[in-house]
């Protein structure tokens, strides 16, 4: 057991795992390094770092001996040297690599400079074998207190895997790039051997054994030259591979024994080899040989190495397979010639065999058609059979004729005929077809005798005509028979697509098919023209073709004219067959496919069938149309256009088609990002895995070789269409999900920046629910027993008025949500809970569907509810409701924040306004006041405003003052001075007297020093105003004509500024006509940083004049708005506005007690004012009625308060309109649950909104202001009795 550990090492030892324990238990006292307590602090600190690190670290302690201390992570590098290495000198531990590292370590000790080695090869010996291993490490000195190097710190990481991985990858890449170009097995072998030419550590040598075609051992085909002579000739002699060797291959362990000369070839001779079967050639699984890879003796055969060898083998196999097929291809060409000869013989035999069954097929079909009667489906099916059997018969006949001529066995029975007449007869069977195809069939057949085999001539003419029709889309086909000296010339000329120059020489080669796909069909056997030539030759004639691309083709046949002695055959030598198979086949080309869906899309999935064979199209349609909507196309080009337009669920396409073939078509689909996902099922007559592979390679999703059964086709199409439907649904869901997430995220971002309720509602409206935005949004906030509702969006003002405050128990959905905390969703109010019918029915035009969610505060209490409203009924998918729920949660956060800010502001304002409660008892003038705390500090201030009615008189005293400072002390002083002002007016309202009282009061109040005040007394009876100011900004008067003037008389110093402070002159005095506006305010309103006071006065005068016609309350609000600096007021602002009552020609001002019996009083006062404007009776009545309705509402709402209050009416005649404002100090409170009251109030609101052209309602904490505007000409324009 070791010594007691020093404290600084104890913890490292405890945390150091195995090596920590071993280090702690080590008997250092007996070690040259001595007991741990004697180790320097630097050394101990380094040890602590090393032991606790999870990175491999080794310390070399002592500059000469370099004793090892290392941590757990380093243990794997030591292998079997652990644990003996601890405390052992470095040279002893790392004897095998000391040549490499000893010098570096000494260098660090000597110079103190750290080293850095990246991917250094250190051949560590493990189990007596050196191993090729790579390390990246740094040696850095451990510097002692005295400056000398006491040891070396080494952080090291093994990079063997990466280094080897890169090296092997490089080999594979090199091989791959070489193999790509190989075309033969020999090339491939050479490429593999080239790898071994340069000695590669991981490929000491390679050898390739290939098995002969049949059984037997694989024989050595090639090997790395250095070892080629050493290797046995057969694989069996090298290694007895088990039968089930498998893809992993087998390891040969005794390579040195088997290949005795090997050791002399290599420095590090390979001891093992891996034998890997190579597969390739015809069948993929057929083992044709083996690749022998000798293994690097310095590396174990681990998974990585094995994987590398496998990849090597795979590449070789692939190359062999490719090369093999290339070679086969060439051999096939050679065999083809031989085959060709055999084929002719075969065709002759087989064709003959075909004719009998075909004939037997055609007869009964004809009978069946005759008996099918009215069963049209059956007839159609039978006609298909008949047509195609006929086609087959024609083909067989052609083949037979052809093979006969090829074999030289055909005998022409030439008779003398009138070739012109015969040809015309044959050609005329095409006339109806040409008509349908829109081609002119021109016959210029002179009567010329020639000797021909009539049946052969028929074949010749029909073939030529059939070709002409196939390749001619417009214009004409001209058949001419004319004598040409000793010969007869017969020509068939068309105006078709022509034949390219390159194709012309091969045109009569059998099976040659011109490489164009522009005809009506690409069907054809390629023997037609070859047969024609053979037949013509049998008539002792010649044939030639002239053609020009896009201009047409002319085939000219010349025959010897009949000699005089040959007998002329009768005219009826040729009888037209009932159904000419050439005509029947050609007419198929003209059957236009239906390229438009027959039904409205949207019902069944749309499947496209693209095939140039009309019968095949019909067949597929019959099979598929039971389940899908089928649209057919005859070529890829038309289909591509169709896919663009109709987006089918699946396309079934043939490969061989005119214009654009199947591969080209699929390629075009895949190249278009919009269409690339269209699934394609490819049909082809070309059977075999290879052509299927070709189909897939061109981008087909599925491949079905012809022939196929209907069941097979149905199964494939069903699987494919279902997969598409599933995928489409999944994608739609994904798209919807991601759109949904994006919408919510966008919404949350938008909501995050919102600060006010109005903004929050606007943002909420814009939130799309299933792509649809709400018409309006509303927020109901619980305030004691009432709910105050705010609206945004398209909502009738009348409704907003009717439902802006409701009782908490009201039977409306919003109130219920707040009461119960449960969301409400109404898809259509017509179906809603009868409980809501009465309220909802009258809002039907603006609200049909709604979703309301509760809004909770931080404690979970429902404090409000937010509603999304739609003006039409709608449904909500579950996802929509979820989206709304999430949006509402976000809205709740914002609403909470906005309400908190609002509350804060309201508290500040409310406190001040409570403190400054405006006495509205006087009817001497309309009074309005506003208090705005400084923007940066929501706190009570020292500003005041006050209105003091003088009892039993027509006088009203007003004052605005400003005490220096903020906060409670200033507020206290302010209250004192304000109270003193009110008190002073009780004894004397004279300005001088009041200021004198205030001066005395201020002198006794320390905080009142330098307070300022403006005081004014209005006498409504005399229309005069007396005023005085103590250090306060001048009051401003705006006269009814819109001009303004500051009241600059009656000045004195600020209160208590000096002893004996008093007015310097008499108080100010001014006459005020009715509807004059007097403004008292504090300096916060006009002060602006960096601006003179005069500029502030000028701005205020201008702003006030602009507000001349506004009602007093609006003047206060508007001045606050207009005068506000960009960043808000820096000081508190108080504004008091009074407007004198009475009437002028264009102004009317009344202020009356809030008593319902005042309604007729105001009406009688207002009527003459309106009459004097020469307004029509209707308008007079409309204005009176709506004003009085508003007045009655104002009085009703104000009457809730015990305090005597007043209501006011301010009217102004403007250029072309009339505006009347009714103001009160109430909140238009709702009577709880009284639907009848709401209904009655509704009548008044209906009248106001119906009679006035515009109604604007402003509600503040100070009261409600309803402004109605009327166009002066309105009454004249609207006929009596017209319903608006």
């Amino acid at each position: 057991m070791g010594e007691d550990l020093p404290a600084d090492l104890a913890e490292a030892v405890a945390l150091g795992g195995e090596m920590g324990r071993r280090f702690g238990e080590y008997d250092w006292a007996s070690h040259p390094l001595g007991p741990l307590s004697g180790w320097s602090p630097a050394m101990r600190a380094t040890v602590a770092v090393a032991l606790t690190s999870r990175f491999p670290i080794v310390l070399w302690l002592d500059p000469r001996q370099l004793y090892l201390v290392y941590n757990d992570a380093y243990v794997p590098m030591l292998g079997e040297r652990h644990p003996a290495a601890l405390g052992t000198p470095g040279r002893q531990v790392w004897w095998d690599i000391w040549d490499s590292i000893g010098g570096m370590l000494d260098g660090v000790v000597a110079t103190g400079k750290a080293t850095w080695s990246a991917d250094l090869l250190l051949p560590l010996v493990t189990a007596d074998n050196p191993q090729e291993r790579y390390f990246t490490f740094s040696y850095s000195p451990i510097v002692m207190a005295d400056g000398h190097v006491g040891g070396i710190f080494c952080a090291v990481t093994e990079t063997t895997e990466r280094v080897l991985g890169e090296r092997r990858l490089h080999i594979l890449n090199t091989l791959a790039s070489t193999l790509v170009e190989t075309q033969s097995v020999d090339d491939a072998v050479r490429a593999v051997l080239d790898l071994g030419a340069k000695p590669l550590p991981d490929l000491p040598f390679v050898a390739l054994y290939v098995r002969e075609e049949r059984a037997g051992s694989a024989r050595l085909r090639a090997a790395t030259p250095r070892v080629a002579d050493l290797l046995p000739a057969t694989l069996d002699d090298l290694a007895a591979l088990p039968a089930d060797v498998g893809q992993r291959g087998a390891v040969v362990d005794d390579l040195l024994e088997r290949l005795p000369g090997l050791a002399s070839v290599f420095v590090h001779s390979p001891r093992q080899a891996l034998v890997l079967p190579t597969a390739g050639g015809v069948g993929k699984d057929e083992v044709v040989g083996a690749l022998v890879v000798a293994l690097n003796p310095l590396r174990p055969l681990d998974d990585q190495y094995r994987g590398f060898c496998s990849l090597l083998r795979d590449q070789v196999s692939a190359a062999f397979a490719a090369a093999g097929s290339y070679e086969r291809e060439r051999r096939r060409g050679d065999a083809l010639a031989e085959l060709d000869r055999a084929k002719t013989a075969f065709l002759t035999n087989v064709s003959h065999e075909f004719r009998t069954p075909l004939t037997l097929l055609l007869g009964p079909v004809e009978d069946a058609i005759a008996q099918a009667g009215g069963d049209e489906d059956q007839v159609a099916r039978l006609r298909t059979v008949q047509r195609n059997a006929g086609r087959l018969l024609r083909l067989v006949n052609s083949l037979l004729d052809f093979s006969r001529t090829e074999a030289g066995r055909a005998q022409a029975e030439r008779v003398r005929v009138d070739l012109g007449a015969l040809t015309e007869q044959i050609v005329s069977s095409f006339s109806e077809l040409c008509d349908r195809a829109g081609l002119d069939l021109v016959l210029r057949c002179a009567s010329v005798d020639a000797e021909v085999d009539v049946r052969m001539w028929e074949t010749i003419v029909l073939n030529l005509l059939s070709n002409a029709v196939k390749f001619t889309f417009a214009g004409s086909i001209t058949v001419e028979v004319a004598p040409d000296g000793e010969r007869v010339r017969v020509s068939v000329a068309d105006t078709g697509i022509g034949i390219s120059e390159g194709d012309l020489p091969h045109l009569f080669d059998r099976f040659y098919r011109a490489g164009n796909n522009r005809g009506r069909t690409v069907e054809g056997s390629g023997i037609g023209l070859a047969l024609v030539r053979s037949l013509v030759e049998l008539q002792a004639g010649g044939i030639e073709v002239a053609s020009e691309v896009d201009r047409g083709t002319t085939v000219t046949i010349t025959l010897p004219a009949a000699t005089a002695e040959s007998a002329l055959a009768g005219h009826q030598v040729w009888t037209a067959p009932v159904t000419n198979p050439y005509v029947a086949e050609a007419s198929q080309w003209l059957d236009a496919p239906e390229s438009e869906p027959a039904h409205e899309p949207g019902g069944r999935d749309l499947v496209f069938v693209v095939d140039d064979n009309a019968d095949m199209r019909q067949h597929l349609r019959r099979v598929l149309s039971g389940r899908w909507e089928v649209v057919t196309y005859a070529d890829g080009e038309a289909a591509l256009e169709g896919v663009r337009r109709h987006r089918p669920a699946l396309v079934i396409t043939d490969v061989m088609m005119p214009k654009l073939d199947g591969f080209g078509f699929v390629g075009a689909l895949r190249a278009d990002p919009d269409l690339a996902s269209t699934p394609v099922l490819m049909l082809s007559a070309r059977a075999g895995l290879e052509s299927a592979g070709e189909g897939f390679a061109h981008g087909a999703d599925d491949y079905l070789p012809k022939p196929f059964t209907s069941a097979d086709l149905l199964a494939r199409v069903t699987a494919r269409v279902n997969a598409v439907a599933r995928e489409r649904a999944a994608r739609a869901r994904d798209d919807e999900d991601s759109r949904h997430v994006a919408r919510v995220a966008e919404f949350q971002v938008a909501m995050g920046s919102v600060t006010s309720i109005a903004e929050a509602l606007t943002t909420l409206i814009a939130f799309p629910v299933a792509g649809q935005e709400a018409t309006a949004a509303a927020l109901g906030v619980r305030e004691d027993s009432r709910i105050r509702i705010t609206y945004e969006g398209q909502m009738l003002p009348e409704l907003q008025d009717r439902y802006h405050v409701v009782g908490a128990e009201s039977p409306i959905p919003l109130a219920d949500v707040i009461r119960t905390g449960t969301p409400i969703v109404i898809t259509d109010i017509a179906d809603a809970d009868p409980r809501y019918q009465w309220t909802l029915s009258d809002s039907e035009d603006s609200v049909r569907a709604l979703v309301i969610h509760p809004i909770r505060d931080a404690l979970g209490e429902v404090i409000a509810a937010a509603a999304l409203l739609w003006s039409h009924p709608r449904s909500f998918a579950p996802a929509d409701l979820e989206a709304i729920r999430v949006a509402m949660l976000t809205t709740a956060t914002t609403v909470n924040r906005a309400l908190a800010a609002e509350r804060e502001h309201r508290i500040a304002v409310g406190f001040q306004e409570q403190l400054l409660r405006l006495d509205r008892g006087s009817t001497a003038a309309v009074i309005a006041a506003v208090y705005e705390p400084a923007a940066e500090a929501m706190r009570v201030g020292g500003d005041w405003y006050q209105a003091t009615p003088v009892p039993d008189s027509t006088k009203l005293c007003v004052s605005v003052g400003d005490v220096v400072g903020h906060g409670l002390p200033a507020a206290t002083v302010m209250s004192t001075l304000r109270a003193a002002t009110a008190a002073a007016t009780v004894t004397d309202t004279d300005p001088a007297a009041v200021l004198s009282v205030l001066q005395r009061c201020a002198a006794a109040e320390p905080g009142a020093h330098c307070a300022t005040v403006a005081y004014a007394v209005l006498d409504a009876a005399t229309h005069t105003l007396g005023y005085a100011c103590a250090g306060h900004p001048y009051p401003l008067v705006v006269l009814p004509d819109g001009t303004s003037r500051y009241l600059k008389d009656g000045r004195q110093m600020p209160l208590a500024a000096s002893s004996g402070n008093a007015l310097t002159g008499p108080p100010g005095h001014i006459e005020l006509p009715p509807a004059s506006l007097v403004l008292l305010y504090t300096d916060g309103l006009i002060e602006r940083r960096g601006e003179s006071l005069d500029a502030g006065f000028a701005r205020l005068a201008e702003a006030a004049e602009a507000c001349a016609t506004l009602p007093a309350g609006a003047v206060c609000d508007e001045l606050l708005r207009r005068m506000a600096p960009a960043r808000g007021y820096t000081d508190d602002v108080a504004i008091l506005a009074i407007r004198t009552t009475g009437a002028t020609p264009d102004r009317f001002v009344a202020c009356v007690p809030a008593d319902i019996h005042q309604v007729p009083v105001v009406r009688q006062r207002m009527r003459p004012w309106l009459r004097d404007m020469d307004l029509p009776d209707d308008l007079v009545y409309d204005v009176l009625l709506s004003t009085c309705e508003a007045l009655a509402n104002a009085i009703e709402h104000g009457s809730g308060s015990a305090r005597a209050t007043t209501v006011s009416v301010e009217g102004a005649a403007l250029d072309d309109s009339l505006s009347v404002t009714v103001s009160d100090s109430g909140q238009w409170t709702a009577d709880s649950s009284a639907s009848r009251h709401i209904a009655l109030r509704g009548r008044g609101l209906t009248l106001m909104n119906g009679l006035a052209d515009h109604v604007d309602t402003v509600r503040t904490a100070r009261g409600t202001r309803v402004t109605m505007t009327y166009r002066r000409s309105a009454a004249q324009e609207a006929p009596h009795g017209a319903t608006p």
């Binding site: 319902i1156 019996h1157 309604v1159 007729p1160 009083v1161 009406r1163 009688q1164 009776d1177 209707d1178 007079v1180 009545y1181 409309d1182 009176l1184 009625l1185 009085c1188 309705e1189 009655a1192 009655l1240 009548r1243 008044g1244 209906t1246 009248l1247 119906g1250 009679l1251 609207a1278 009596h1280 009795g1281 017209a1282 319903t1283 608006p1284």
Partner: protein, 109 residues
Amino acid sequence: MTEAGYTLTVTPGDVDDAPAVVAVTGEIDITNASDFAGSVEEIPSTRPTILDFSDVRYLDSAGFAALSDILAARKAAIVIPVSSPVRRAAALMSLPHHATVDAARDALA
């Protein structure tokens, strides 16, 4: 005149079941609408009643509410001529009315 005032002049029908014509003048508003309703109630409802508002120069929402109640309670018809300024408000209030006394009489017949 600071109070709203109205007068009712009742002209009984010339035959037994002919409607009585009540000519209303003055103003009916929130302050006297219930009085007005009471006055009409006092008129015997054995016969149909025609309330002729041709000479009413002011009628507010309380008045319209009273008229609605009257129409619901008794067989009555209201006359508001085309020239009356009240007519537009009556339309807004959806108050059934007739342009002339004769028209009202026909409607009641």
